[in-house]
């Protein structure tokens, strides 16, 4: 069964589905953002393990490394850009979350869709760090 040999692809698909479940089912926006990050890293994991060679070495030519034994460098170059884009998306989404809380007082998606205007109360538990 080739599923047992490609166990890394199976793990990437499993993590992708866990992330997608979080984005769909969980109601808190920050939980959805954590799920989005899990989905992104699962896709990167799948992509890099496509370019893996059995017994390969890292693609850095020092000390007479043999180029025919190196793993594929092109997916790594593409995913490096992908990681930077992922952190930019996360930073922008968190800035929007802060603004959303300031405006509506809640981060629950069901209550936001019902369009209640709630001011954050003075005694709300904020953060929790002393």
């Amino acid at each position: 069964m080739r599923l047992l040999h490609n166990y890394q692809y199976v793990a990437a698909m499993l993590l992708f589905c866990i992330g997608l479940y979080t984005v769909i089912v969980r109601r808190n926006i920050i939980k959805k953002l954590i799920g989005l990050n899990i989905m992104e890293t699962a896709v990167f994991f799948f992509y890099i393990s496509l370019g893996y060679l059995d017994g390969g070495i890292a693609p850095i030519r020092v000390g007479g490394a043999d180029p025919s034994r190196m793993v594929n460098p092109i997916p790594q170059a593409l995913i490096l850009t992908g990681i930077v884009v992922a952190v930019s998306v996360t930073a922008l989404a968190l800035a929007l979350v802060i603004l959303l809380y300031r405006q509506y007082g809640t981060l629950d998606v069901d209550r936001l869709f019902r369009d209640e205007e709630v001011e954050p109360e003075a005694g709300t538990e904020r953060g929790g760090t002393a």
Binding site: G19, I30, P59, I83, R111
Partner: protein
């Protein structure tokens, strides 16, 4: 040996991802997510990608986690039900 280590990392990744999804306290979920990021960085090294391991370690544990913690600090800490 190599396969066993990969399997241990994969089991740890799936376990921390599940724990981060089902944690009620948002701060705990974010800390578990940073552990997931760390194990993903180790997994990049197992796939012979040292540039990606460095980037994922610096970005996942250094920048993304702290931005999440700042956002939680400015909003609520517990998930509403």
């Amino acid at each position: 040996m190599g396969t066993v280590l990969n399997l241990i990392f994969i089991v740890l990744m799936v376990a921390t991802a599940l724990l981060a999804v089902f944690a009620r306290d948002l701060l705990a979920a974010v800390i578990i997510f940073s552990v997931y990021s760390l194990i993903m960085a180790l997994m990049w090294q197992r796939l012979q990608a040292p540039d990606l391991a460095l980037t994922e370690a610096a970005v996942g544990a250094g920048v993304t986690t702290v931005l999440f913690v700042v956002a939680i600090f400015k909003t609520r800490r517990r998930e509403e039900e």
